[in-house]
């Protein structure tokens, strides 16, 4: 049963993930059928490569630290304070996370880049410094920390702290000895996730880093696309792969520790209006941070998209419609990219929900109870391995996957080179982890005995799923689909390789426009980014509406925050 459910996801991953990645690594490290493992050493002692490695590491560490510093107070504010407009603000905070990296890059370019807002006002430019990258990373990952840590924080029973206070602990001591240890694993999990995202950062660094700054992923892209140096790219891919595996293992470990029994309560009971000057100051400073760091870049992006040569107007939007006005590299009107992107993302969403849904179902099936204990623990390990496998696309170089698609899926029986499906397949790969992460906690929260109760009442396994599981996960399924859609829409690293020149997606078109000189190109990039942002934000805000209401009731429902896993 479980194996049957696993078959489809496994086949999908084998064909469209493992095969291309292995093939490209093999091509890089093999010469005339001989493994050239010496290349590992050669590449890894190259000072340029070491420089990239070092930069990748320290910028990820710095981004993570900075994000925690800025977002943890925000997590507290969202967890413990009640204030008007909180729901809306929560949605606003979540928007950056689903924005395509390219849009974020464009927005920060418009804020701190050449001719950006700060440049206009005070002549300050940060796009040549690492600060632009770090700030963009904070922008991106603010929601990760607020949701992961804040989600748990809001469900921690305040009475635990009160118990400590009664036992003689001061306010700070109570927080440090009771709340902090409970939050620790969530903070660690969030930090690791931020580190992972920033470690493999591509679009942001590609746009904001210029020639000076290059992460591993950007370097892999340069080596493959610009220099056609496959051996170096292959070694870098392996290095990144190893690092990501380590990070994911660490993350899985912290998440498992987080599952240790905590007394959780309904989040709506723990928040109250801020009291005293200190709490109001904290609330206001959080609002200012959100306004400056999250809202301002996007506002500037929108402003730039309307700031034509002759004052504000729709000139950049209007010219998007004609191929002629665009640069000669565009065989089609840039606006066509909108239609392409939507169609690709829709197809990718269907694939991702199907594959991810089956995988999540397989992961929640109760372990077979028949055999002796040894076999169940084997099965447990198998399931855990499967779980980790599903997370891999989050961290493995998308560039490698994209390039791998090109060189492996070009011969029968899998000749997809000219197929329209090539792009959605690659995008679905990135969407699957999100679908699994969204579905899994909900499916796991369904009490196994509820299924047993249905079975005893005469429901066959299929009926059990339809009658018990489906009604509970319907909302999660929609949310997962929305996530997959937004992620597919913004996918850049793989798509940039495989999207055909006459069929660009929005992020690819934006990147191309930004890569050219000229005010029109710049303005069009801003306009396209704005469109992309509106579509993504729209998708997310629609999701916020279908977020499950907290289930009250005695039937054992635990409150669920779907973003809790990120």
């Amino acid at each position: 049963m479980r194996l049957g459910l696993m078959a489809v996801p496994l086949a999908f991953f084998a064909l469209f993930f493992a095969y291309p990645v292995v093939a490209i690594v093999g091509r890089g490290l093999k010469d005339g059928g001989q493994w050239q493992l010496g290349r590992l050493g050669t590449v890894l002692s190259d000072p340029d490569v070491l420089h990239v490695l070092w930069f990748t590491l320290w910028q990820a560490a710095a981004s993570t630290g900075l994000t925690l510093l800025i977002a943890l107070p925000g997590a507290y504010v969202f967890a413990r304070f009640d204030f008007p407009g909180k729901q809306l603000l929560r949605a606003v905070v979540a928007v950056p996370f689903v924005l395509p990296t390219v849009v974020v890059g464009a927005a920060f370019l418009a804020l701190v880049g050449r001719g950006g807002l700060l440049d206009d006002l005070w002549g300050v430019r940060l796009d040549t410094s690492v600060w632009a990258i770090l700030l963009a990373h904070v922008f991106f990952n603010y929601a990760v920390v607020v949701r992961t840590v804040g989600g748990l924080w809001s469900q921690l029973d305040p009475r635990q702290e009160e118990a400590a206070r009664v036992l003689g602990a001061g306010r700070f001591a109570a927080w440090r000895r009771v709340t902090l240890p409970a939050l620790g694993p969530a903070v660690a999990a969030a930090a690791l996730m931020v580190f992972l995202f920033t470690f493999t950062s591509f679009g942001v660094v590609q746009i904001l880093g210029g020639p000076t700054f290059s992460t591993l992923e950007v370097e892999i892209y340069r080596q493959t696309a610009d220099f056609l140096d496959l051996p170096t790219a292959a070694v870098l891919t392996l290095v990144q792969f190893a690092a990501v595996l380590g990070l994911l293992a660490l993350h899985a470990w912290t998440v498992r520790r987080r599952e240790s029994a905590l007394r959780l309560v309904d989040a709506s009971q723990t928040a109250r209006r801020p009291r005293g000057r200190g709490q109001w100051a904290l609330l206001w400073s959080t609002l200012v941070v959100i306004a400056v760091l999250l809202v301002l870049p996007l506002a500037v992006l929108v402003e730039r998209s309307f700031a034509g040569p002759g004052g504000y107007g729709l000139v950049f939007y209007r010219t998007l419609r004609s191929a002629a006005a665009a640069d000669s590299t565009f065989a089609v009107a840039p606006l066509d990219a909108v239609g392409n992107s939507l169609a690709y993302a829709a197809a990718a969403t269907v694939i991702a929900v199907l594959v991810g849904g089956l995988a999540a179902a397989a992961l929640t099936r109760p372990a077979p109870r028949t055999g002796p204990a040894r076999r169940t623990s084997m099965a447990g390990r198998l399931v855990r391995g499967f779980d980790a496998l599903l997370m891999l696309p989050l961290g493995v170089s998308a560039v490698t996957v994209g390039f791998g698609f090109l060189i492996t899926l070009d011969k029968p029986p899998l000749d997809l080179r000219d197929s329209w499906w090539l792009v959605p397949l690659a995008q679905a790969l990135v969407g699957v982890p999100f679908v699994v992460r969204t579905m899994l906690p909900v499916l796991r929260a369904v009490d196994g005995r509820l299924r047993e109760a249905a079975a005893v009442l005469g429901a066959s396994p299929w009926r059990v799923w339809r009658e018990v599981d489906l009604p509970m996960v319907r909302r999660a399924l929609l949310i997962a689909a929305g996530f997959a859609f937004a992620v597919s829409l913004g996918e850049f690293g793989a798509t940039v390789f495989i999207a055909r020149p006459d069929h660009p997606t929005l992020p690819v078109a934006v990147a191309r426009l930004l890569g050219r000189a000229g005010e029109l190109n710049y303005g069009q990039a801003m306009a396209l980014s704005t469109i992309l942002m509106v579509v993504c934000a729209g998708a997310l805000l629609a999701l916020e509406r279908i977020r499950p209401q907290p289930r009250t009731g005695s039937a054992g429902g635990t409150p669920i925050d779907h973003s809790g896993e990120f």
Binding site: A455, L457, S554, A555, G556
Partner: protein
């Protein structure tokens, strides 16, 4: 019911050598070669402390847990390979497990829908059952709005609706408060009698078991320690474990010689026909009689506890372990008083030496 009386003797459920192991092979099994028969229309209550394997027993019968060895027969048919949903048994879960997204009617009708009965019939059955469990007109209520007792009644109606041939109850009243519990036990017994339901219930509460059951089965560490009518088990606990589980702590080493046994408390009369030799002896508190200090075994009253209908005395004899005595309210001596003790043969039970 009388028309079927001839067939009631037939076993509806028969367990033969059922064994279930969790964890490491070679470890103590959760169920160890359990044999158990339940006749049609019989109410059997499995009684035991937590961890004695009671719930596992129900899960094996329901097909939710596969047995490592042994057979489960329902109406003479082997159930190996029959999936849960085709066994035609009902199971009321300890914490009810009502479907939170369905209303009361949706919960009660669930089993009928699975059997594809007509909608009109479903509605009629739901209304009937809700009347029966004392919740008339509750069809449209949300499950979350029900109190614990109401949830319990809905769970019962849901389990009864598809007319299971065997109804199993897992700690049916476990989560309810005491008053409600005592009332419901009486209601349940009347209901099951009326409907002619065959019931297999498990509980750790002896009061519940004795009030509900025709027959009580005491389990210990995955094995059946004793099986018999409530009166039987209460009066003649078979082993020291059963005696202590029922709350009897006056158990001593003894050597039987003729009509009496030599114990640390002196000579204690034993029932007629007891064979000579060493054994363990239970003296129920009612069989510990107080006499004047000069007669009988001299004891000091170490503690007294008011029990409503009587006073429980903890007595410390000059030699041997402490013993408990039940004493009428008016005659109870003060703590520290010196009393004499004699034993009544009808309240002395010779325990099975092999177990406990």
């Amino acid at each position: 019911m009388t028309a079927q009386a001839g067939s009631t003797a037939r076993e509806l459920l028969r367990l033969g050598g059922v064994t279930v192991r969790f964890g490491a092979p070679g470890g103590r099994p959760a169920l160890d070669a359990v044999d158990l028969d339940v006749a049609a229309q019989e109410i059997v209550c499995v009684l035991g402390p937590s961890g004695s394997g009671k719930s596992t027993l129900l899960r094996v019968v329901a097909g939710l847990q596969q047995a490592d060895a042994g057979d489960v027969l329902l109406e003479g048919r082997d159930q190996a390979g029959v999936p849960t949903h085709r066994r035609g048994v009902g199971l009321m879960f300890q914490d009810h497990q009502l479907f939170p997204q369905r209303d009361v009617a949706g919960n009660v009708a669930f089993g009928l829908r699975m059997r594809r009965s007509a909608r009109a019939e479903q509605e009629r059955t739901v209304a009937e059952l809700l009347d029966l469990v004392g919740l008339p007109g509750a069809q449209r209520r949300a499950v979350a709005s029900l109190s614990g007792g109401e949830q319990q009644r809905v769970a019962l109606a849901r389990a009864l609706a598809p007319r299971p041939r065997l109804l199993m109850l897992d700690e049916p009243l476990g989560q309810l408060d005491r008053g409600l519990r005592e009332r419901l036990v009486v209601e349940l017994r009347r209901l099951f009698r009326e409907l002619g339901t065959t019931v297999l219930a498990v509980t750790h509460d002896q009061g519940e078991a004795f009030a509900l059951a025709d027959r009580v089965v005491v389990m210990q560490d995955g094995r059946i320690a004793q099986s018999g009518s409530p009166l039987d088990v209460w009066q003649r606990p078979a082993t020291e474990f059963v005696a202590r589980f029922l709350g009897f702590d006056n158990v001593v080493e003894a050597t039987v010689q003729g009509e009496a046994a030599v114990t640390p408390w002196g000579k204690v009369p034993v029932p007629e026909g007891t064979s000579d030799g060493p054994c363990r002896l239970l003296v129920r508190p009612a069989g510990v009689r107080l006499t004047s200090a000069e007669n009988g075994l001299p004891c000091t009253v170490a503690a007294r506890t008011f029990r409503g209908t009587h006073v429980a005395l903890l007595l410390q004899p000059a030699g041997g372990p402490q013993m408990e005595a039940a004493c009428p309210l008016r005659e109870a001596p003060e703590t520290g008083a010196r009393v004499g003790v004699s034993f009544a043969a009808e309240d002395v039970v010779v325990l099975d030496a092999s177990a406990g």
